[in-house]
Amino acid sequence: MSFPTQVIPNFSGPNCAGQFFCWDWVGANWFSVLQPALIQHIWISALAVLFGLVISIAAALYAVRNSWFEKGFSALATFLYTVPALAFFLLMVPITGLNVGTVLIGLTGYTLLLLFANTVTGLRAAPPETIAAADGMGLTRNQVLFKVQLPLALPSIMAGIRIAVVTVISLETVAAQVVQAGLGTPLFNAQRNVFTTGLITTGLLAIALALVADALVVQLQKLVTPWVQARR
Amino acid sequence: MTEAHSQRPGVEIEFRSVTKTYPGQDTPAIDNLSLTVPAGDICCLVGPSGGGKTTAMKLVNRLIDFNEGEILIGGSGVRDVDITALRRDIGYVIQQVGLFPHMTIEANIGVVPRLLGWSADRIKARAVELLDLVRLDQNFAKRYPSQLSGGQQQRVGLARALAVDPPVMLMDEPFGALDPITRNEIQDEFLKLQNEIAKTVIFVTHDIDEAIKMGDRIAVLRQGGVLAQYGTADELLGSPADEYVADFVGADRGLKRLSLRLMRDLVKVSGENHAAPADAPTVKGSATLRTGLSVLFASGSRVLKVTHDDDSATVIGTVTLDQLQDAVYETAPKAPTDVVVAGEA
């Protein structure tokens, strides 16, 4: 395992016996367990979304002109979402090995499908009269695609990123069952020991991370697509 | 078509000093509006966007509620009856038609009767009658709105509004989305229909020509929902109350006014037809003065021969260019000739 061995939560350190929530445990394990897990969780999520974004935009630009590609990709997407994520990660282990890379690749796969679908929808959503006008002004096919269709697809792409981010954060906790990484690791430890302090701390950290990330994407959305009126 | 389609002719609609101010706005959308639409008349509401014509109409079935004043239908206030009962007894036609795509044409026509608890047989019979009335084939009954053209859909819209034979109808730019040919056709048919059913109609339009054609009376509203003038088309065209109305009815109001009257009303019969040159152009008695003038100009002649409607060989008299010009300048709006208004063919 290339991932540094994590410190097993030390339940016996601070005296937490019989307590529902034990701040001492949180304090004792913050720097050794919780903070590294949180940071790793953030890194993996960010990278998965980033890789997914780059690949899906490239694929979508290809797919708008090759409908067979789009159909195939959508069918694959529908299928992948029926596969229990844990089984998916387990099945990847023989191919990619028992390491963080497996989690990263698996999560990228999930984001790909969300982002690809939204990008293609966005590219297709450009009003025909806008494209006709661009054609009329003498833009080449590629210029139309990159200067007109792609910017107009941004709202749809951003909506895809928003879903991808929360999906990745959620699935990553599950992946810890296969490869110890991110917040899922202390979470499963607490689950196995029915340790309420650990359950609440790790659970709330993951929830907070998802909510904050979601809010950040919303802000980014407003920044990148100022012409879209924020829905109240 | 028979008279049996309508047992309930129109009743008078009266606006009494009606004011509507939207919450959070300083200026009213409708400002102290008073007007009376006589029973069986079509009253066209015209004005600029923001003039409140649609608002004024929606006050009648209380889709919008007014703040002050009173609106009476057949003498009773619209606020004195249950709002649902009020609306079910007012025919409502809108530009988007608003047919329910999930219902057959028959079911669409039957919406209000069903709400009122009519029996299925009675609804079916009524649908048959109404399809006939709006000149749609009976096999449309089982079709769906998406299978109909725009014009056909609006006929169904009319039939649906007439389903429970309401005495009053509200029409919000009903023909506005149709192409000019279809619009003209359906306007003519509606006027014919109105001759039989004699409903009291409030008809909103932004098109002054449509108002002149359809309206027994026209109410011109200006910005802020103020009534600028209310009268017959001839009154508006002949003596606009002010610059605003004159502007609104158009600089060509003289010509428009000519289209309100028919050649046969101007014809001089007393032997003068012999005075007309043999090559003088001819025009039917049922043609408007505007058509007559156009024919005259096109021919270069100064006199027209007017023929019988059904027999173009029979000359009933002549009309001269001077007569036509006088007709434009006639100011007296109450002159007997003004009895002939749009809609009577």
């Binding site: 099945l91 609440i200 659970g203 929830i207 909510l211 | 988007q96 329910f100 709400l115 769906y144 649906r160």
Partner: protein, 224 residues
């Protein structure tokens, strides 16, 4: 794999049944709550922030983290996993129901009101029949997500025991005991369940969608 399948077939069937029951309960709760709130808020065309924000917040919650917190608060078991699955399914159904009802042609709704339909008459006779296709799309997606996630039941402490059906999570969540083959086979059962349910929902959608709506949709597609 064949060996595992034949050795465990009846157990797999029972676990699949449990998986289906678990998913179905969560879906039904989500449909009742989501369609009521979504459709009513959509009908009002006000308080839309309620539907949208509720949907967005619920959608952001990581399912496993939610299960963890609930273990501490309410303990292990059926209620725990059901709440977690409802939180997963509800936003999809709520958002779609809201979007579907607000998307109904305003002219049509205006006509209905002008003809004297009351609010609930407009909702049930005009808006909902027109919103069915989109609502059912949400239900179908929610079903697929729920079935694909219900194996988390094992981590919420809902497993096979006398008087309790369990779920395919008994196998999927226990790779060390069941082996990769077992996980693969159980996942396959979950996938089949997801597709079967999705198919049934599609059939239900066809049955519920009024003929006129189908016609207008195909009419809208026709002109290229």
């Amino acid at each position: 794999m064949i060996q595992y399948l034949s050795d465990n077939f009846s157990r797999l069937l029972v676990l699949t049944l449990g998986h289906a029951v678990l998913s179905l309960v969560a879906l039904l709760i989500s449909v009742v709550v989501g369609v009521s709130i979504g459709a009513y808020v959509g009908h009002l065309r006000r308080y839309s922030f309620l539907a949208i924000n509720l949907g967005n917040v619920l959608r952001a919650l990581p399912t496993l983290a939610l299960i963890a917190v609930m273990i501490a608060l309410i303990g292990f078991g059926f209620v725990n996993i059901t709440i977690a699955l409802v939180v997963l399914a509800l936003p999809l159904i709520l958002t779609n129901a809201y979007t579907a009802v607000t998307g109904v042609d305003r002219g049509m709704v205006e006509a209905a009101r002008g003809m004297g339909m009351k609010d609930l008459e407009i909702l049930f006779q005009v808006e909902l029949p027109n919103a069915i296709p989109l609502i059912m799309t949400g239900v179908r997606t929610a079903w697929v997500y729920t079935v694909a996630t219900a194996y988390l039941a094992i981590f919420a402490g809902y497993a096979t025991r006398p008087g309790q059906l369990g779920s395919l999570g008994d196998i999927i969540g226990n790779p060390s005991g069941e082996g990769t083959t077992g996980v693969l086979v159980a996942a396959a059962f979950a996938i089949v369940l997801a597709f079967l349910g999705a198919g049934l929902i599609t059939l239900a959608e066809r049955a519920m969608t009024p003929t006129g709506i189908k016609l207008s949709r195909s009419a809208a597609m026709a002109p290229a």
